[in-house]
Symmetry: D3
Subunit: 247 residues, 6 copies
């Protein structure tokens, strides 16, 4: 069982659309889940809030924090934000080391983050690169080193908005049927981006269709797609019937 | 748990070097394992036997059958050979349908076979393509069809002799430490290709080193590398600590 | 303006789900559209029909022909089937030359067909390869040859069921908003695969979302995605505002 | 019709060799064309000027400015240079925001720039990355944001000096036959790099040959090759006969 | 020194445009060079000859044979044609074994042939695949086998007409300056495809420019580009100054 | 013959495991070899030294310097370290220009360095990128420039620890049999990373096996694998028998 799950997004709400099911499944099974947002997405993704007269950046951040925190609570996760700014998000040496220290503190078995490429968003690839680099600083070279290290966490990329154009090739379909209602509720908290709820509700259904076709398991109704980018080390070769969709 | 494992090789002994550990682990856990060789490799891989004066092709095939069968027995698997000829191996319509019927009969959860590319061997890619095509004929389009279908098996490629030049990128490292002695014994049965034992013994150690670095699990001593080419459908996101190397 | 459009599918109904919008738009603008099915998909995709007691292959083909023909009529296209058999579809020399002759006769400006890879279907890549090969036989080497040639048609691949796993990267999003109702009606004719209507209705909406994000054109509601695989030769560099979504 | 075209080069003269035809065609059709050079290429590409005794960097920049400006005028375009220095060109936060503001001001339908990879030049990929990032900052995430946005411009890469080694795969061949004389005249203005004229004159002929083979249109004599890297959103599927080489 | 060079083309004249320099350099250094054409290209590439009234296929083949033979003689090579037919060229089991036997007889150090992909020609990829397969049948699996084997020849692909669209990435530039006049003369023999002489003359100059830029060697005036697809086994790491352009 | 060889590693001992054979072969043939380490690897790779009570960073660096220097001496090379720090190694503008000046001073025919990707080490790709960028600054654009330039050196990547996961595809296998003992002795100097000796001793044997299979040359017992990433400019096409393994 995964004991500690860390989801890192560029903006406050990325985790909701793309990994809410994964988080809810993990916490339902007793895992500790942490969501880290590198920024609030206050410039790039909060346009709805800025339509309000007299809006201020502090107020926008506060609302985004509250929305993300409520969504995280529904999923059983803790929400943390580094508030590094967005559009563009930039990671300097201090931010990189702060991120490495955070990973060392959390000691996650799994990290979920953005894809390395995303031609539609300037902050997503920056986040991916920072996470991958900080993960190596936290876990070391696999040999004795001068600093404390954690076991190298498994890394998954969650699904970007336009998967094919981001080079996203899903190799893991997660059956989120048991926690689907939680995901819907979490999405409803993000009032600043209501237009995404319908889109990601349909996506869960579409990925469920794919998962059924791939596995032949007719019980999967909703799924989230991920691309695992670090190898698996296993004690037996997984099939769909063992340790996977074996209900 | 995997219940039925099918390993398909172009030649009689391919399964030993590349998947003996996977087979032994599966059968130790109660699975039924079947090894299918499309040919005996009587022309391309049996040169040692041909050095014997008065050698005949029937005798070469018989020796290869006996060696492969003994190796399979040690691993707890059944050995079957289609005897389609090698160098070159060719798959006509009848052979394709025979292979599809075999897959339908065995009903494997997992199929392990060659990589799609191998610039060092003319028969390996032919086998890969035939297996992938026969698997689709056996499992159908994922919708109701005119014929009996089986659930689509998960497919892994085992490691070719020169992995980088075959485009092989391992994404699953299987800890074969518990069955390592069985693999050694199985390899010893293939007297016609003794020169490969040292090579694949060292490879197990090397892949063990990789697996330790990837997972941080110091108990892995020997491993086999695989490339999974069909997606996983799962109930939770696997990490190294859960359902994998969780000892 | 395109004057002649040719859509080639492995099975009778492929064109409906994947290119109905493209066909309807073309014929609405005065083009002549031809749909060629290499088989009826009588074995792999007609399972619903086979549930009927006493069903025969001839009856299945007849029903599939009628359904496809009605769908084609709604879109303003002619439907032709080579009836070469499916699961597996095989293209021998005679079938290849028949296909080349067909392309020479139709003289299409554009051909739309399957992607070169599809790990979920054994007949789709066979169709792609046959179309590409027949196209070259019909159009020649671009130099004087011993036989009649047609201008080399532009080639698009339509969207497969699981795009990322087929290596499909859309580079053309076609706004089908004006003909959306026609596509719905055409899909309704394919009674033998009713379960696909909901899936492809949602897909049109999803691709419309993508097209709006890419172009900034808020009027696109429904779209079909294509991957153009032959280069464009143009008199000016196309943007979204000129000759594309210029309403 | 394209109304606003922006060409961004690392050095003062990049636009001439690689996109002069595209610019001349656009302005001939009434478009407004802007050429932005991030540097004058005063160090890396102006060796001929430095052979003059007593040469100064200010004088080199002045000559390069005049040459580029004259070439731009011949093509009907405006020339602007950020003068950020070359070999190496570096883009800091201020330069990035200046570039984003420039794109927002120009509001181009199309941007043409360097390829993402160029193992022969340290400044070309830096320019590509800066343009792609600034374009996203100028156009936003496709959703309501805190700042003014422009419609996301279509992006083309122009042809690098050694295309295959830069990973350049042309997918658009632009027929520049009608403006070929203008391109020759523009190239003649760049006295500091005369050795490139013959090379790019031949290249236009070679790309014309390719365009004829691809389209079957014998009237194309000269062409420029481009790689479009953002998808098209269209109202009908383009062929060569419609809206492309339809003379 | 290479002692035996084998060039395999789909059609009679492929070797002239693409490898004449390589052949002339080899034979000038004492190597034995053999050109094998799988067909005469009598249908796809001999259109000029078919314009002659009363032309027959036998006469076309004869003219093509004579032209190719004269070109080969100028380069010091022997010309052989299997006359398997073109458009489409097909390789059955007998042709494959004939090709393997031919390779075994010639025992080449180097084979030069077409690229694996060519979207402009149906016969070029077929030739590539047949050569690669026959080469493996001739050289065996690198272990003792039941048949006579030759050392595995190094394989180069020569340059296709539209390199980027064939996935051709040159990694070897051959300085053909010393034998340039021989290549011109050889090209002049192919009267049936005169239109290619100008194109390939310019290409030699263009590839010479590339070779100068890559190596810094100003003496290279003309070059041919190749893509080596089998690894090198060497006694020291080659640079441009040693064993390469070390004049 | 190569006259000047430069090996650039992120950490003090990288050159020993990955290129000791190449260095020893070059110096045995009269070449001048320089090893540049960008850091001592004092944090990431020196854990064994840090186990000593009262250890200091200066002492660790001194030990690492002495070990690397002794290994270099055994191979006939000079060892230089920039001491830029590791985990993370960062290259600012000054370090980049220092590296470019170093390359200009050494004037190497060949540079050997890390692969562009390495998911197991944060400093290796940084080194690769810095070397490639500094090489361009040192050699210029291939045209006259404002600064002194050197001929563009050939670039090889040496083998990373987990080659397939770093995208490493070897295309050059160097026969290090004649200098194998020197490599063993050099590795023995790196007392701070003793655990790597066995691994890289076996690797030399494994790569020797590959080299024999590729070339058919049975005399190769030990090899190092490299990936050449800049094209070759040659006077004849290399085979295995000429200028390579031609003993």
């Amino acid at each position: 069982m995964t004991k500690r799950l860390l989801v890192v997004g560029a903006h406050a709400a990325d985790f909701v659309w793309r990994a809410a099911g994964a988080i809810a499944l993990a916490t339902a099974q007793g895992a500790q889940a942490t969501v880290l947002a590198l920024s609030y997405g206050e410039r790039g993704e909060s346009g709805e809030l800025w339509k309000e007269p007299g809006q201020t950046v502090e107020r926008v951040k506060q609302i985004r924090h509250e929305q993300a925190e409520r969504a995280a609570q529904i999923l059983g996760a803790q929400f943390v934000c580094f508030d590094l700014g967005d559009y563009p998000l930039e990671i300097d040496r201090a931010a990189l080391e702060r991120l490495a220290a955070f990973i060392r503190d959390v000691g996650p078995d799994i990290i979920i983050t953005h894809t390395p490429h995303d031609p539609f968003n300037p902050d997503h690839p920056v986040t991916h690169d920072a996470v991958m680099r900080a993960r190596l600083l936290a876990s070391g070279a696999g040999v004795a080193s001068a600093f404390e290290t954690v076991k190298p966490p498994v890394v998954y990329c969650f699904e970007p908005h336009q998967p094919e154009l981001c080079g996203f090739t899903p190799n893991v379909f997660l059956d989120i049927t048991p926690v689907y209602e939680q995901k819907i509720m979490a999405m409803q908290q993000i009032g600043s981006q209501q237009y995404l709820q319908h889109y990601y509700t349909e996506l869960a259904e579409r990925r469920g269709n794919h998962a059924r076709r791939i596995s032949g398991d007719a019980t999967v109704r909703y799924a989230e797609a991920f691309q695992r980018i670090t190898p698996a080390v296993v004690r037996w070769l997984p099939s769909h019937d063992e340790g996977e969709v074996s209900r």
